[in-house]
Symmetry: C2
Subunit: 414 residues, 2 copies
């Protein structure tokens, strides 16, 4: 029997796409992974790049390096402009790629909830460019403050507003507060750092909504001890280059506003003829197949499993990784004529660091905080990071930062 | 006696400017260092950034970090747009800065010798952005080749021409040849790497003109053993996006052309009312003072000591470092009413790495090549690199690269 090898296309080399690609290693299929970058980004450490603690390159790994050894997996550097589900063709900036099976793992983008003024002026933290741009922006604001005679203007330049009290917002706020406390006073002896401020705005009544109440309170307590101005119940109504306006009429003057208040599926997802749920995510079957297109799958941040009435899974790396694996295995089952399996999320918990020796972790059913949670966070992120060399360099940096209180990558590049 | 503290302005935080700033530490003067970047770049390792062996951030150090502890030295992030020598004012993008003494250390830029077509299309290697852009360009060319069906076009994409057989050209050629040999074949199993080529063009009859003949020959031999096509006596007449034209009528088709054939003083130097010598360098007195402006000094790549008939010093870090120190000390002597000292270059030699365990060094009067020269090169560059953390990270990277034959930073960022 001469069976034609199936062609599988994976759109996106994030956590979901790469995990899917791994499943196909040495399977009798031909796989093409398409991404607009030639590297995979370890998103959970981006905030450390943004706060000058890590080199950008250490949280990225070349995709071809990751896929080395899987001779049936090819990489194509291209931007996907459209997917023709009926014609089974992915249209890219670098040509058309036909497929028998598709895994759509194109990821997410910041959700500004229609606030155009925020979209135009706020920094975000979704990829390496964002992280580097935020680092540049913060450092440049302090350079400007150093050359600024007016005290009020100095205050605006040295105020950083973070919008969104999820793990990213909490970690970023903690890291910026430490930068402000331990590093910037040495760099800018000419500035009065006591007027510098990190403000964390959260629309709901709690930081870290997915955490148990005890850990939420611990996180808030620790951030405040670091000098972060935590304001829950603060809903942003708009922004300009000099600050944010709150819905209650208040205004916070700040040159740097970072928006980490939510994500939505990439616009490409909504271009597919598939119903979408909240945040523009494609509604997929429990097997992760697209409705009406059983050969095609959507996974990770672009997917909403079940109907519009089913609550979506959080846009987190563990969900993406587990879905990537299930989609790939289901394709192999489909090819073999076996029964498909539904996706069931194994929630092992979440964690967030807040600063030196401080973190909160709700993991394996345990509630941890303080030094132990921090060690656990460091260890797990080191293990999860792709590439032994990256781990080594990050470990050297972490050790260095811990011992010297330094954040050495204080370069303004662009 | 109430003496007004003298204000000293240093334009440029390269090797010359920083060395000058160091001399003023704890002297009774107020110093402002002005640079358009907030970091100092260790130029001798840029070629390793361009060949994906080092992270860009590891060969840079924040200027404020370097100047920490010198409370009488300030930093201003600004682009200098003009210098009013008579009015003793430096005009910058960030305001005017008055001075009593000036050290002009604004550095150099590639010298295209009037070849506009080369200036427009060739890559260069003078700063961190150049190095990252060259890395991006080489890797992107291979990505394009991987998606290119036409073999001739593939060949153009995979050919890299380096123009200039000085130390930078030699080191870059060796590093690219190793990238081509050890790394790219694993990344691009779909490509026939035997058609990829590194071509090194040198206008004179010898590589490394400043080296003794024996070492020149060794360098050529080693490069050729690595597969580099070394062509001496090849004068470039022009370039476009697809290759270079030689003066003898030949053409080398290549998507990537790197111009490291010469440097000239930055354009700002020629805007000063001071006679210039070869390569637009300011002619300064033996004390490094500007003629007619005894309070002002020029050092490093912008300076040509003596008259137009005196051969200029090479544009190298050791010259810049020694001149920076002499200028600063002369200013302190001037303030103290002491006699100024002339600059005398102590030439300790030059060196260039060519690849794994291979280098040539003419240093301390010795002619070394091979493993010993390579070890010496590694050791000295590690010592010269600024910042203990940078040294540590570079050492980890070098160890990693040596043991694994890897060049891990294969990211296309822009």
């Amino acid at each position: 029997m001469n069976v034609q090898r199936k062609r599988i296309v994976i759109v996106g080399a994030g956590f979901a796409g790469l995990q899917a690609a791994r499943q196909f290693r040495s399977a009798p299929v031909d796989v093409t992974v398409i991404d607009k970058h030639n590297y995979h980004t370890f998103v959970p450490l981006l905030y450390q790049v943004a706060t000058a603690g890590l080199e950008p390159e250490e949280v990225a790994q070349p995709i071809r390096r990751i896929l080395r050894g899987a001779r049936n997996v090819q990489f194509l550097l291209a931007t996907v402009t459209a997917v023709d589900l009926d014609g089974r063709v992915v249209i890219t900036s670098n040509g058309r790629v036909a497929y028998d099976h598709l895994i759509f793992a194109a990821g997410s983008t910041p959700n500004f909830f229609g606030l155009e003024s925020v979209a135009k002026t706020a920094a975000t933290l979704r990829d390496l460019d964002d992280a580097e741009a935020l680092r540049d922006r913060v450092l440049l604001a302090f350079e400007r403050a150093a050359a600024e005679p007016d005290l009020e203007r100095q205050r605006e330049l040295m105020t950083i507003v973070i919008v969104g009290g999820g793990p990213t917002g909490v970690e970023l706020a903690g890291a910026l507060a430490e930068l402000k406390r331990h590093v910037l006073p040495h760099d800018y002896p000419e500035l009065d750092l006591s007027i510098a401020k990190v403000v964390l705005l959260e629309a709901t009544d709690h930081l870290l909504p997915e955490m148990p109440p005890k850990l939420r309170a611990k996180a808030k307590e620790k951030l405040e001890a670091l000098g972060v101005d935590v304001r829950t119940g603060s809903i942003v109504a708009g922004a300009d280059g000099n600050g944010v306006a709150l819905r209650n009429g208040e205004r916070v003057a700040a040159d740097t506003v970072v928006w980490v208040a939510g994500l939505r599926a990439v616009p490409l997802a909504e271009s597919l003829p598939i119903p979408t749920g909240a945040a523009g995510r494609l509604i997929v079957r429990e097997t992760l197949q697209l409705p009406g297109h059983p050969e095609s799958y959507a996974v990770g941040d672009v997917a909403h499993v079940g109907g519009p009435d089913t609550p979506p899974h959080p846009m987190l790396a563990p969900v993406a990784i587990q879905q990537g694996a299930v989609a790939a295995k289901n394709i192999l089952r489909q090819i073999a004529g076996e029964e498909l399996q539904p996706f069931v999320y194994k929630d092992r918990g979440t964690m967030a660091t807040i600063g030196r020796q401080a973190a909160v972790a709700h993991i394996f059913g345990l509630q941890l905080n303080g030094f132990l949670a921090w060690l656990l966070w460091l260890g797990l992120h080191l293990v999860w990071l792709i590439g032994f060399r990256n781990r080594l360099l990050v470990l050297v940096n972490w050790g260095w930062n811990y011992l010297t209180y330094e954040r050495a990558v204080r370069l303004i590049r662009h």
